[in-house]
Amino acid sequence: MSTATPTAATHKDYRYAPVSFWRRYVFSTDHKIIGVQFLFSSLLFFIVGGLIALLMRTQLAWPWQEIPVLGQYIYGSTGNILSPEGYPALVTMHGTIMIFFFIIPVLSGAFGNFLIPLMVGAQDMAFPRLNMLSYWFMVPAFLVMIFGFFVEGGTAAAGWTSYVPLSALPDMVPGSGMGQTMWIISLLLVGTASTMGAINYITTIVMLRAKGMHMFRLPMTIWALFITAILVLLATPVLTSALLLLLFDRTIGTTFFLPEGGGNPLMWQHLFWFYSHPAVYIMILPAMGMASDIISCFARKPLFGYKPMVFSIMAIAGLGFIVWGHHMFQSGMNPVLGITFMTSTMMIALPSAIKTFNWLGTLWQGQIHLTAPMLNALAFVSTFVIGGLSGVFAAATPVDIFLHDTYWIVGHIHYVLFGGSLFGVFGAIQYWFPKMFGRMMNETWGKVHFILTFVSFNLVFFPMFILGAYGMPRRIADPYNYTFLSNLQGTNQFMTISAYVLALSQVILFVNFFVSLYRGRKAADNPWQANTLEWTTTSPPPLENFHALPVVYRGPYEYSSPEVEEDWLPQNRELVPAPAD
């Protein structure tokens, strides 16, 4: 792959567009198809991970109860009830699937692939074949992870963080047998896939920008995906090395992480979080970028503080590499390091603050259209703030003594990941759907989905902060045999019921999505009257994206510009007299 000169190949592809169904839609090298492939497979995994979450919620509300009808199908092997070892397995799979198979692939994989070439004005990725390869590394990863459910002992059950020694000793819990090994292999594949993607994205963004598309004329989405790719590129290999060491500990009897052999269990946590803290920003930055574009477009107003926005993304990424210890405050790590990590973690809130305020600045004196994408983008801002602020509590080391590994953290996770990233994704899906499939999604149902989701989301996850304040630990199958939690069952049942509602609300989205796919109103090329390049080509774009490569004359956010009477001004429209490029 590396020695090939793919652009020659890509060029050929356009001339003789692949005819066979397989080359066109399955083993396609077209970034748009690959993006859609990522979109579908990750949404599928959202459903899987979500349904697992519902099982967890059910257990937490009515522990050890037989599930009325479905029980026999789900827990058939254990008398229609969840078994004690089943719960950690559910938690682990929920976390792993949601993070590695849903949120990262949907952000970088789906939207990264679909949007980067279109928004920078290129005909495809720099390395289309590598791009296809990256998707076809995800597929076996999916399969291996799912296969884990069927090996004896069941799936990995050491949490998505798979702390050693629990995950290193094959006989520790049922799931830490074959299932854990599957988990490792699967993540190795995911890591390889996303590294390939990262190389491709960075190269494309640096090399294949259309004429006049200076770095500081890139849309925020692209900036975010660019920095994200850099994070992936530099963080993922460390996870890979850690996973391999863990694999050796499990298989060939090394003792890197095992105290018996003089190894160091905390080493795993260091290496894991060296990847996984940057990873949490991998899971939010693209959403931030897409939200920025959506907000600016529907406020009909230039993004407030473009450069500060760019620099704060960079700052988040940079600082993201020196805060990982905030996951280890209580781990027995040298407490002096706790101080340095606490300080850096406090400071990383600053760039996020800047971004938040600039989003508000963008709304100020705008012409705000409350469309479905916009509503979701706004929900992103408002819930991300809650999630972020809850993170500041955890960053306060002394408070974290109490909050660590309680539901406070679980609440934090979901406010940033569901409230943040996922609302961003909902917004992005409905915003770019017309460009992806040439049809509009139903606006009314979009709003219905939004309102139901927004309300039930908060009803599910806000109480988690209260549970956290009560000190309810994470990853426990049955809170109520602790006396200090015994009075919390009501709260949990309320959350669980809200979770059912939340789940059903997602059905609305899926139905809307698939119905619009076939029945949706035909979409104009630029239905939102937006400025960025993807809207200057047809919906859906031709195989080569642009019939003639665009030339860029201005930044992406020239809304309500005085230069023209309509309130948008595409990046590639040449005004006469043409401004100096």
Binding site: L166, I339, L363, P398, A469, A477, D478
Partner: protein
């Protein structure tokens, strides 16, 4: 949401007040952001024919909302140093009671100093599984170990949490201030029994504690 559950140790004061401080700072930020957000949505919703104000931002505003939160956050960081140092770095002196706690799947096992009041001597006493007693108003140093996987020693009321790492003995301390019964929870996933790895903690006066210990000693001699 009125702060954390009632505390029963010297840490409760500083930690809970710090929690409140953070709650206020973030609360202000929260109300500010959400308030402004909602206000803008109403105030600036689309009006036909109208055009939005054309501006790309303003350096002075950017600086203000960079510097102010920056200082707040940095201040917040400095403000916590002492509490953390006191809780995790500082160690109480000789008057402290030293107790060994060993965690395993899925039990807590405490070892108390015998008559000589010293640890690591032959007369050390093992308490029954999952039973822990501590005197109030006296610093207690726990020497925490694990025999198998990670566990975490979490007594919410005492505001203590410390992971137990196999192959290491981690020392931490607390000083209970109120008598009472509390749960010791395991806060680190340690396998299928994680949820039921519960210890019963009794905080009692020094006298009651000594009595309990003696009676324990007696019984251990008994058999």
């Amino acid at each position: 949401m009125g702060g954390l559950i009632p505390g029963a140790s010297t840490f409760a004061g500083p930690i809970d007040s710090l929690f409140m401080v953070v709650l206020i700072v973030t609360g202000v930020a929260f109300v500010l952001v959400e308030g402004i957000l909602v206000y803008f949505l109403i105030r600036y919703r689309r009006r036909d024919g109208g055009k939005a104000t054309y501006t790309h931002g303003d350096r002075r505003i950017e600086l203000t909302w960079t510097i102010i939160p920056g200082l707040m956050l940095f201040g917040l960081a400095l403000y916590q140093y002492n509490t953390w140092i006191d809780a995790k770095i500082f160690m109480p002196g000789s008057d402290a009671l030293v107790v060994d706690v060993s965690a395993n799947q899925f039990e807590w096992e405490a070892t108390y100093p015998g008559g000589d009041g010293l640890m690591d001597t032959p007369d050390d006493i093992k308490a029954p599984i999952n039973i822990l007693h501590f005197p109030v108003n006296r610093p207690v140093i726990i020497r925490l170990t694990s025999v198998d996987v990670l566990h975490s020693f979490f007594i919410p009321a005492l505001r203590v949490k410390q992971d137990a790492v196999p192959g290491r003995t981690i020392m931490f301390w607390f000083e209970a201030t109120q008598q009472g019964e509390h749960d010791l929870a395991c806060a680190e996933l340690c396998g299928l029994g994680h949820y039921r790895m519960r210890g019963q903690v009794t905080l009692e006066s020094q006298a009651d504690f000594d009595a309990w210990l003696e009676d324990l000693e007696a019984r251990s001699q008994g058999n």
